[in-house]
Amino acid sequence: MAMALNIIITGVGGQGNVLASQIIGRAAVNRGYNVTIGETFGLSQRGGPVMSHIRLSENKTCGPLIPPNMAHMVVGLEPLETLRVLKEFGNSETVFIANARPIYPLNVIAGDVEYPDLEWIRDVLDQSAGRLYWLDATDTAVELGGPIMLNMILLGALCSLSPFPLDTGDIETVLTAFLPDSKLPANIKALAMGAELIHRYEN
C-alpha cells in the first residue's frame, strides 16, 4: 500500500453507512492499520446524503477527506449518491460496488426534479469506473430480514474484492464484540450473501 487505501461508503441517512464504516475501521485497527474515517452527515437523519471516507494506511495518519478522484473503492448504498461520488472521487481504476435500488429524494417525489434513469446511471458507472458490480442488494436484504441488512451485504461484497485488505473473518470478529448475540447470525449470513452476490455477478 503506497500511500493509503481510500474507500468511500455513500448512501442516505438511515442506510447504516456509519455503522458499516465503523466496523471496517475497527477491523482494520485490529489488523494494525492506521485508520482514518471522515464522516459527512449533517442533517442525515432527515434523509440527506451520508458519506464516509475510510482511509487505511500502513504507516501514516491520513486526513479525514479523500483527495479528489483518489478513491480506490466505492460502496454505493444508493445509485444517485454513487453517481455523485464517481465524478468527485472516482477514477478509471476505482472499483464500484453499487446497490441498484434508489431511495427517491423528496424533490423527486414532489416532481421538482427527475431521478436519473437507472440504466443510464449504470452505464455511466460502467464506462467510467475500473470495475462495476451492480447488485440488487436491497432485494437480498429484504429476503434476509429487512433493508437494514443492506450494509452488511455490501460489506461482505467488499471483503471479497481486491484491493480490500480485510476478509469476512476480520469483520466477524468485530461484529461478535459489537452486536448482541441475537443479531449475530443474521449479520454473518448477510456478509456471506454479499460475497455470493459478487461471485454470481462475476459469472
Binding site: 500511500m3 441517512g13 438511515g14 442506510q15 447504516g16 456509519v18 455503522l19 465503523q22 475501521g25 485497527v29 492506521n34 485508520v35 482514518t36 474515517i37 471522515g38 464522516e39 459527512t40 449533517g42 442533517l43 442525515s44 437523519q45 432527515r46 434523509g47 440527506g48 446524503p49 495518519t61 486526513g63 479525514p64 477527506l65 479523500i66 483527495p67 479528489p68 478522484n69 483518489m70 444517485l80 453517481l83 455523485r84 465524478k87 472516482g90 477514477n91 478509471s92 427517491y104 429524494p105 423528496l106 424533490n107 423527486v108 417525489i109 414532489a110 416532481g111 421538482d112 426534479v113 427527475e114 436519473p116 452505464d123 455511466v124 467510467s128 433493508p147 437494514i148 459489537f178 452486536l179
Partner: protein, 648 residues
C-alpha cells in the same frame, strides 16, 4: 434506523471509560476529547447539545455510569459553562462543551470569567461547523479567545484532540484561567487510531475557599493580570509539541496552518510532489501566538500561505505580528483569505488546496482528465437531495396546520422560526412557512417585537414556533418580555419530547437526566399558565382540528400559547407505536386524471407517499411509511385510507 446504529455504537464506546491505557483504539474526534478529559481526571462536565459537538457529553454521560464523574445536559450553554465553572472554583477539573453558537451564549459570562480567573482546570470546547453543514451559520469561535484573552488550542487529528484536551487542563491550572479548545465538524466526526493512556484515580474533593474569591474587581488590575496569564501561556507555547514544522530549510512557500485543514495542505503537498519546495508549519496553539517560534519560521521564507478553517484568524494575527516584528522578519507576501487565494467562505477541502497549490506552482492536476471524461457523460448537476422531515414527523403536521390556519386567516401572517428540526420549516418540507431563523429563542424575541408594531400600522398575525428544548434554552425570556410588555404573540411550542435534531438528549421537559437518573420534568403548560396566559394543546397528527385551534388563537390578542404535542417520529419508532396502517386506494385515486396536479406528493412531500410513474397514481412506500395518518386528510378524493393498527 440511525437510532439503532447509535445504540450499537454505545456498546462500543465503553472503551471511553476503560481505566487501562497503552492501547490504540478507534476513536471519533469527539470521543477523543471526552477521553482526554477523563485522562486528565475531569470531575464535572456540562454542555448543551448541538452538532457537531454532542457526542462529547453523550460519551461522558455514558462513562459516568462507570466512573465517579458528574455529567449534565444544561438548559443552555451559558448555564453549562457557569455550572462547570463552579466546579473549577471549588478546585475540580471541569469542562463545558458546545457548538460555535453556544459560545456566543456563554460570552457574557466568559469575558467576565477570564478576568476573575479559575482554579481547577477549566476547558471550554467549541466545535465549529465550517460550511454550516448542520448550523445556521459558519461562525469562527476562535475570536472568543482573543476577546476573552484566553489561550486557544486547535487539534488537527483525533489523537491530538485527546492529547491537547488532557494538556488543556494542565495549562488552565498553570495560568489559573479558562482555556478554549476548538474543534471543527470534520475533526469531531473523524475516527482514527488513538493511543489512550490509563485513567487517574478520581479522588477530588470539592471545596470553595472563602478566602479566595473570584471577582472581576478592580477591573483594570484584573485585566492586567489576565494579560500576564496569557503571556505565560505564550511562553509555554514556544516549546509546545503541538506546533511543528515539516519541510526544507528555505522553502519557496511557507504554509501556516491549523486544525484539520493542515492535513489537506500536507496531502496536497505530497500529491503535487512539492515536499522539497514547500514548508508546512502546523500550529496547535494559535492564541496567544508563540512569537519567537513564528519569527524563526517567518525568516525562512517570504511567501506565506495561510490554511485554516472559517476565518482569517491566524492570518490576521500573524500579519499584525509581522507589522510589529517587521525588522526581524522582513517583508512578506501573504496569501490567504484577504488575498483571495483561499475562498472567503465555506469549508476547505483537499481539492481546494490542490487547486491553490497547483496554480501557485503552475502544476496541472492530472485527474482533470477523468473529470472531463465523466463530465462528457453526465449533466452538470445531478438532482440534489432536499432535506425533509422524517416520515411520521409531527412537524409536517404542525406546519400543514399552520399553513392552513394562516391561509384561512388571510392577513399575510407568517412564522418566526427557531432552532431545531423544525427550522426545516423554511424549506418545502415545512411548506416554506418559516420566514426567519437565527439563534436559539430568537423566534420568540422577534415575535414579541412584531407584537408591538401595531403602533406603526402592522396588522399581520405572527406565529412563533419553538421546540420544547429550545423554549427552555432561551425562549422563556422572550415570552416573559411579551407578557410584560403586552405584546400580541402566538407561541406554538412544538413539543416532541426530544432534542431531536441533535440526537435525543434529555432536556428539562424530560424525566431522565443525562446520567440516566430520574428527575421531575418541568411542565411546559403549567409554566406558561403561571405566566398568566391561555395555553391550549393540539395534536399535530390531527391537521384539521389543529388548524381550527390555531385559527381561533390568531383571532385573539395578547400572549397565548399552543402546545403542539406528539412524540418525535424516531422516538415513536423506537417505542414501537404509530397509530395507523396506510394505503392508497388505487380505484379512488384518480391519479393524473384527478386534476389535483398531484397535490399529495407535490405539496405534502412525505417520503412515505410517492408517485408511481407507471400507474400515474399515488402510492404508499411501505418500506418508508410509518403510519402517522396525516396524509389521509389531504387527498381531495379521499383515496388515502388509514386503518387503526391493533394494539399488540
Amino acid at each position: 434506523m440511525r437510532r439503532a446504529e447509535k445504540e450499537k455504537e454505545e456498546e462500543g464506546s465503553e472503551m471511553i471509560s476503560d481505566r487501562e491505557g497503552g492501547k490504540e483504539i478507534l476513536l471519533q474526534g469527539n470521543e477523543a476529547i471526552a477521553r482526554g478529559a477523563l485522562e486528565a481526571g475531569v470531575a464535572f462536565c456540562a454542555g448543551y447539545p448541538g452538532n457537531p459537538s454532542s457526542e462529547i457529553i453523550e460519551n461522558l454521560a455514558k462513562a459516568s455510569q462507570r466512573l465517579p464523574i458528574y455529567v449534565e445536559w444544561s438548559v443552555n450553554e451559558k448555564v453549562a459553562l457557569e455550572a462547570a465553572t463552579a466546579a473549577s472554583f471549588a478546585g475540580c477539573r471541569a469542562m463545558a462543551c458546545m457548538k460555535q453558537n453556544g459560545v456566543n451564549v456563554t460570552s457574557d459570562f466568559l469575558t467576565n470569567l477570564s478576568l476573575s480567573g479559575t482554579k481547577g482546570g477549566l476547558v471550554l470546547v467549541s466545535c465549529d461547523d465550517p460550511g454550516g453543514i448542520s448550523s445556521t451559520n459558519e461562525e469562527d469561535a476562535r475570536w472568543f479567545a482573543r476577546l476573552a484573552c484566553i489561550p486557544l488550542l486547535e487539534p488537527a487529528t483525533p489523537r491530538e484532540a485527546l492529547e491537547m484536551t488532557r494538556w488543556a487542563f494542565v495549562l488552565s491550572e498553570a495560568i489559573e484561567n479558562i482555556v478554549l479548545l476548538r474543534s471543527v465538524s470534520r475533526l469531531s466526526h473523524t475516527r482514527s487510531n488513538v493511543l489512550i493512556r490509563g485513567l487517574p484515580e478520581f479522588d477530588v474533593k470539592a471545596r470553595f475557599d472563602p478566602d479566595i474569591p473570584f471577582h472581576t474587581f478592580p477591573v483594570v488590575d484584573k485585566d492586567r493580570a489576565r494579560h500576564e496569564k496569557l503571556n505565560r501561556a505564550a511562553h509555554d507555547f514556544e516549546t509546545s509539541v503541538f506546533n511543528s514544522y515539516d519541510g526544507p530549510e528555505n522553502p519557496e512557500l511557507l504554509i501556516i496552518s491549523s486544525g484539520c485543514a493542515w492535513s489537506y495542505a500536507r496531502e496536497s503537498v505530497e500529491i503535487l510532489r512539492l515536499e522539497e519546495r514547500v514548508g508546512l508549519l502546523k500550529m496547535g496553539t494559535t492564541w496567544p501566538l508563540p512569537q519567537e517560534l513564528l519569527k524563526r519560521h517567518l525568516r525562512q521564507c517570504d511567501q506565506i500561505l495561510f490554511v485554516e478553517e472559517i476565518d482569517a484568524f491566524l492570518e490576521d494575527n500573524v500579519k499584525a505580528f509581522c507589522a510589529d516584528a517587521g525588522e526581524e522578519t522582513g517583508t512578506k507576501v501573504f496569501m490567504g483569505r484577504s488575498s483571495g487565494h483561499i475562498p472567503l467562505c465555506g469549508e476547505l477541502s483537499p481539492s481546494i488546496l490542490l487547486q491553490v497549490l497547483g496554480e501557485h506552482f503552475d502544476q496541472a492536476w492530472e485527474q482533470d482528465r477523468f473529470q472531463a471524461h465523466v463530465n462528457s457523460l453526465m449533466p452538470e448537476d445531478l438532482p440534489p437531495r432536499a432535506f425533509g422531515f422524517c416520515p411520521g414527523c409531527p412537524h409536517r403536521g404542525s406546519y400543514y396546520a399552520i399553513k392552513t390556519a394562516l391561509a384561512w386567516d388571510n392577513r399575510d401572517g407568517f412564522v418566526s422560526g427557531d432552532i431545531g428540526c423544525y427550522s426545516l420549516g423554511l424549506f418545502p418540507t415545512g411548506f416554506n412557512q418559516v420566514k426567519s431563523v437565527h439563534a436559539m429563542g430568537s423566534g420568540l424575541g422577534l415575535a414579541s417585537g412584531y407584537g408591538k408594531l401595531d403602533l406603526f400600522g402592522f396588522d399581520q398575525p405572527v406565529i412563533t414556533v419553538c421546540g420544547d428544548s429550545t423554549f427552555f434554552h432561551a425562549g422563556l425570556p422572550g415570552l416573559i418580555n411579551a407578557k410584560f410588555n403586552r405584546a400580541d404573540i402566538l407561541l406554538l411550542i412544538l413539543d416532541n419530547s426530544a432534542t431531536a435534531m441533535t440526537g435525543f438528549q434529555p432536556h428539562p421537559g424530560i424525566d431522565t437526566t443525562a446520567m440516566g437518573q430520574p428527575t421531575d420534568p418541568v411542565d411546559l403548560e403549567s409554566l406558561c399558565r403561571s405566566l398568566g396566559m391561555p395555553v391550549e394543546v393540539a395534536d399535530p397528527y390531527d391537521i384539521n382540528e389543529s388548524a381550527r385551534t390555531i385559527y381561533g388563537l390568531l383571532k385573539q390578542e395578547g400572549p397565548r400559547v399552543l402546545v403542539m404535542r406528539r412524540k418525535c417520529a424516531l422516538v415513536q419508532g423506537r417505542e414501537g407505536g404509530f397509530p395507523y396502517r396506510m394505503r392508497v386506494d388505487p380505484d379512488a385515486c384518480a391519479g393524473e386524471e384527478c386534476g389535483c396536479n398531484r397535490y399529495c406528493t407535490r405539496i405534502f412531500r412525505c417520503p412515505g407517499l410517492i408517485w408511481n410513474t407507471l400507474s400515474k397514481k399515488a402510492e404508499i412506500d411501505s418500506v418508508i411509511c410509518v403510519g402517522c395518518g396525516i396524509c389521509a386528510d389531504i387527498c381531495p378524493q379521499g383515496a388515502i385510507e388509514r386503518t387503526v393498527v391493533e394494539e399488540e
